[in-house]
Symmetry: C2
């Protein structure tokens, strides 16, 4: 199980520091110690450099204003009033430093916000998964912005290009989305330039490369995300506003709703992903970094997957069970090689109440060492085989990399199957049977195309003879993503844990022990599935859910409402009648009769949440005995007769399911590119494709391909598999080789890297 982890470990050289609970933010005093500098190589940017950049971007602006040096907003406003610009919106630029490990370089956070915006460091830390954000020292300011000589001079304009990826750049949405002029300093507090908010955003974005990006943050919304520390005071005794009027304050009682997804999927994929998950009500942030709340909207999808998969494995004779979440240290560490991969991220319980435990107890990161000692006990005879157990549980891996909802979380839900067989052939058949179920979870339930295949030697699970996988693809980033893995463990664990039986086929010779170790498999599928589904189908309007798994498949919205209540009752009644009809036919339908919301607001709301089909019902529809059906995934609208509506709706839902899969499959296919010449490798990768290479399957050769395929910009940098310039690793050796056609050179085909004989078309790519 858990290639994913082994792989992550290899790239665990991030400069990011250990992120802990977000709520420790404000209370620790900083310690004196030798500090690692931010970046020793940056040079100062001058005013004229900045003006040059603006002109290159065709950003027009009034002349730069020169005035007395100012410290703070009031002085600045005073200076601007002198030149008749007293009404211009002021900005503030803040540099925060999160707490970092002694040995790590700082990862500062630069915030450009409207003067009046509150920028709570606690909530910001939570958002970024950084710990104990504080205003940076003047020393650090000078490292980040060598042209600034004091904190009063700080401005984002003289940032270097490219901005180092270790600097987080945050832009207040009030500035980013504004076409009004905002005042910013150039390189010192004695000069001011007036730029439109949207131009500030464009300017900053021109300085960053790839996905690091400028993050636009709605601070009002951010504050509301951190329920505890802020809320009570805020409601009972509103804090005195720091600056001037707050134009977008969300008042709790107003039912004001953040209507739209704030990011474009193609422009800011990480921002988009988070926003869609939160606003689509799939999950919520939690006050412990790397842990998330699965709200019913996502958990129900997981339940659907559970129910389907559980039924299928029971048909294969697998039984469910539950092993404790705790593992004793001795057990966990019994198998050194196996645990080596997990050890750095094992969470340890060392106390109960006020008592220190004498032996520390681990929370399982996976269950091989938990379960297999009992397999040795339960499997006494070949008659006890096959033993096929599965459990639905949560496991904990205290990862220190930036967490990502569903994809990389410290606790996650999954199933883990662990099976034992007398014969290798039975075990190998099961590996494929399970893999095919995983494929069907993706294609049949989630409408996500995946390609089944075998992992390379480098990428297989350390304890396995071999690993099979279903590989998905996120077209927005051009990266592959591992969907689920099914491992054949051979006799590796059974020898280690002494899981042996007297073979019915062998005879005992001279009393000699003729026991044979069993053959084992393990296989796992996690809530990562949900993340892949969101990434593949979601769009700029929000989630797009496949009908088969959507908690709510159809929403019925009353339209054409009159101000006179009596008339509307008929519409409401028809909506409820339609809801009843559909529910009776097994369709998960809901009539949205909430008062106080316009139909447009409701359309938006349900689009954001990804409900597959919207039925609009108004007086004209009722008169014509029809309803307007709008499909979420392609916004296709059609009139649908109310007669036999249940059948029609079910057909629609089936069609949507099939078309979603077809669309995503076409996209994946169009990005699977056969490449046989090395010079095409990096350009093809950079065009966000998955490469299909003729390959010798050699581990050393794979390392070389990875190194050689890094984009020039990334050479010599610390490896980050997430960077758009990272090298390509093998995703899988697909089982259906024929889909890629014959090798151009037939039997003589050479490996694209080493020139040895190629064994297979293999998928290579950047990946999650």
């Amino acid at each position: 199980m858990l290639n994913r982890l082994c792989l992550l470990r290899r790239s665990l050289t991030s400069t990011r520091t250990f992120h802990q609970t977000a709520f420790t933010l404000a209370f620790n005093s900083s310690k004196k110690k030798l500090r690692i500098p931010f970046s020793p190589t940056m040079s100062a940017i001058s005013d004229s450099d900045i003006l040059g950049r603006l002109s290159k971007l065709s950003i027009s602006h009034p002349d730069v204003l020169k005035h007395e040096a100012v410290a703070g907003g009031d002085a600045w406003k005073g200076q601007l009033e002198k030149v008749g610009k007293g009404s211009v919106a002021l900005t503030k630029t803040l540099l925060f430093k999160p707490k970092t490990a002694k040995s790590a370089a700082p990862t500062p956070v630069l915030v450009l916000a409207a003067e009046s915006t509150q920028t709570p460091s606690g909530a910001l830390g939570t958002l970024l998964n950084l710990k104990e954000l504080r205003l940076a020292s003047e020393d650090l300011i000078k490292e980040v912005l060598p042209s600034s000589s004091s904190k009063d001079d700080v401005s984002p304009l003289p940032l270097p290009s490219p901005i180092p990826s270790t600097l987080h750049v945050i832009l207040d949405s009030l500035v980013a989305n504004s076409t009004a002029e905002h005042a910013l300093h150039l390189t010192s507090s004695s000069s001011t330039i007036l730029l439109r908010g949207v131009d500030v955003k464009a300017y900053l974005e021109s300085l960053v490369q790839g996905e690091t990006g400028v993050r636009v943050v709605d601070f009002e919304e951010l504050k509301s995300k951190a329920p505890e520390p802020v809320k009570k005071e805020a409601k009972k005794e509103p804090a005195a506003p720091v600056g001037t009027a707050k134009p977008q304050t969300v008042k709790k009682d107003d039912d004001v709703y953040e209507m739209a997804i704030q990011y474009k999927k193609e422009e800011d994929f990480p921002g988009w992903y988070t926003d869609v998950l939160i606003k689509g009500q799939m999950l919520d942030y939690y006050d412990i970094s790397g842990c998330y709340i699965l709200r019913p909207w996502s958990y129900t999808i997981w339940q659907t997957i559970q129910n389907w998969f559980d039924d299928e494995i029971k048909k294969l004779g697998v039984q469910d069970c539950y092993f404790p979440m705790f593992v004793s240290k001795a057990r966990l560490e019994k198998e050194k090689d196996h645990i080596e991969g997990f050890a750095p991220e094992v969470a340890w319980v060392t106390k109960a109440g006020k008592s220190d435990l004498e032996e520390h107890i681990a929370i399982r990161p996976t269950s091989e060492t938990v379960m297999y000692p009992y397999y040795a006990k339960w499997i006494q005879s070949h008659r006890d085989l096959p033993l096929k157990l599965n459990q639905w549980n949560s496991v904990v891996r205290w990862e220190f990399k930036n967490p990502q909802p569903f994809l990389r979380t410290r606790e996650f839900l999954w199933q883990e199957g662990h099976t034992a067989f007398l014969y290798k052939s039975e075990a190998e058949q099961e590996v494929l049977d399970i893999l095919d179920l995983y494929r069907r979870v993706y294609t049949d339930l989630l409408a996500v195309p995946v390609i089944p295949g075998k992992k390379s030697e480098n990428e297989k699970f350390a304890g396995a003879d071999y690993t099979t996988t279903v590989e998905g693809f996120i077209s927005t980033t051009g990266r592959g993503i591992q969907g689920a893995t099914s491992h054949h463990l051979g006799q590796n664990f059974s020898k280690m844990f002494d899981i042996t039986v007297e073979s019915p086929d062998s005879k005992q010779v001279d009393g000699k022990d003729s026991r044979v170790p069993v053959f084992q498999n393990s296989w796992g599928l996690s809530t990562r599935t949900l993340g892949v589904m969101v990434m593949v189908h979601g769009d700029d309007q929000g989630l797009v859910l496949p009908p088969r798994v959507a908690m709510q498949q159809v929403v019925i919205v009353p339209v054409g409402l009159s101000k006179s209540e009596g008339k509307n009752q008929t519409i409401y009644d028809e909506c409820l009648k339609l809801e009843r009809t559909l529910i009776a036919a097994g369709v998960r339908a809901k009539a949205d009769l909430r008062d106080g919301y316009t139909p447009g607001w409701k359309f938006n709301d349900w689009e954001m949440r990804g409900v597959p089909l919207r039925l609009e019902l108004g007086p004209r529809d009722i008169a014509s005995n029809s309803t307007l059906a709008v499909r979420r995934f392609d916004n296709n609208k059609s009139s649908m007769p109310l007669a036999d509506i249940a059948t029609t709706v079910r057909t629609f839902l089936d069609d949507i399911q099939a078309e979603m899969l077809a669309r995503a499959t076409a996209k994946f296919d169009s990005h699977l590119i056969n490449v046989t010449k090395w010079e095409d490798v990096v350009p093809t990768l950079d065009a966000k494709n998955v490469l299909v290479l003729p390959w010798c399957e050699g581990p050393k050769c794979e390392d070389e391909i990875k190194e050689r395929s890094k984009s020039q910009a990334n050479k010599g940098q610390q490896e980050d598999a997430k960077a758009p310039s990272a090298g390509a690793k093998s995703l899988c050796i697909p089982f259906g080789q024929e889909r890629f056609g014959p090798f151009p050179d037939g039997e003589e085909q050479k490996c694209i890297q080493c020139g040895e004989k190629a064994k297979s078309w293999t998928m290579f790519g950047r990946s999650y």
Copy 2:
């Protein structure tokens, strides 16, 4: 939620020490410190005292042998050979001391075993949940056995009567079940008495009172229960036997099977319970104390409960979700009163990998403080109500009392529902709706009768306005057991967590805040259900499972087999055909065609595992187109025609389900005794009944009833709710008061304790 815990806390004054992982056994060196003596009040028992006891028990024996003092088996054997008794089975008596807290009295373990039996202290410690068992010092030996002057003199015969409950007495099953003579010392190693094994058992049992009992242990089986440390060596290089031949050695390859439950339910209920769970394959022990493995046989029952209950609550509009298992310290401790009950048993994660976490993180003991901050965030308007969330998860409570499978475990599975409403009346209705679902889980699924009612003020959940409960009954011990609880929390938590909405009914006056806190419920049902089911239905043959939840409802066993294989094939084919027919009709049936086992062995095996219906199929049955049906729960046998067998079997299963409930209900009812005179209270309790008392419902009065109803023997001792002499606490105020008839004194009825006006018939009893 979780009255259970609050209650347990009150009696957490046990002298038992902190039991930790069982695998720390052998490695810690003991520390010098002031030792608390075992029991300072014991006086020496003489040889003639012992002979007097034997005669009182009518145990006959040859004359006592006097010889030279002996140290060890060989010397003893030598002395016995001199008097022609060299072939008598020797015994050994060992006294172990577990590690105990500084402030606790020792809880030693006395073992009487056959000389040849290996008595591994590690496995014994695991069994008893005691830590680091070591041979006791001479000092301790003299405290426990004042008549012994050295370790060579040790014998169980001069134990005091009654044996203090802090001494564990363990008897080797090889001795206990033997009718052969065994040699024991009297009070010194220079005298020997020969007693039959069964008489030794009877003698020891005469010294103990109540449930503490003498525990009979099969050491061979015990060793096999501790898979890791023993197994490998045992298999590869059998250790040299310590004494003489081991008559009952279980060889792994022989498919030797521990056929019977070793304890009688009525005689040794705790031993029986554990044995039935292990041999019935419901669970297995785990190497961390208080944690158990739920094997498919039990987990599937839990899944059946889950599926049924989840469907029902979804009909009520409840949605499932998942919150993280971790809670930050700040969150957990936000509400002091709430957490006070849980704090002593919270497990803390303080390390990840090799890093110490700066803030310790708790594993949830329950989720109020985890969830409610988000309720405050999600519930912005009355339109967001009701909010009804449920989660299926595991929680951890690091209890320091002796764990008990299903009933008191450190990690357990449950569901916890948390709901919020605008109106109190809605919330109160739900409390009862859920309670009725809990009732149905017990009666409809598990065939276990429960009585719904309200908890007294003393017994309600601390955070609740009131707690409702379904109360079960274990007739073997005469104790009540709480089945599940549904709490109305009122506005207690919503005020604390600021979960408020603008009421649609109230108008804002002069801008004054007219927000109202919501009304909340919480309700939970755990895997404790499985323990109750086993205790209620199981018998001396093993588990008895209700058909509705049994993983396997029917077993088909081929009988009348011939030695000639050809003839048997017909029978096997008929068995498989019958299996297919039943499965096709939705019956969970299995044909047991395992070779190498006799039909009798299979009968036993499936009886032990509690399969509700056995169908025997042999040549004569086939000839008469019928099968012999044997019902597990009452052993009722009948011939069943094979024509339309599926319908017949389904009817049988329904009948069994109904009759199991009826039988258990009749038993519960017959032990529910209305008592109106105080002098009847203790005798009725001692006869293993639940009291139904006219009661004033006053908290102080409840304490007085508890104190006053303790049996004389228990007065002044530390309270142990499990002791058969414990006082009675209130179980519930049943909702169906009319079933208990009118008060004898009608309106004038006085409370049985305080003489104030009685408000209700209330169930009082000893309880789990």
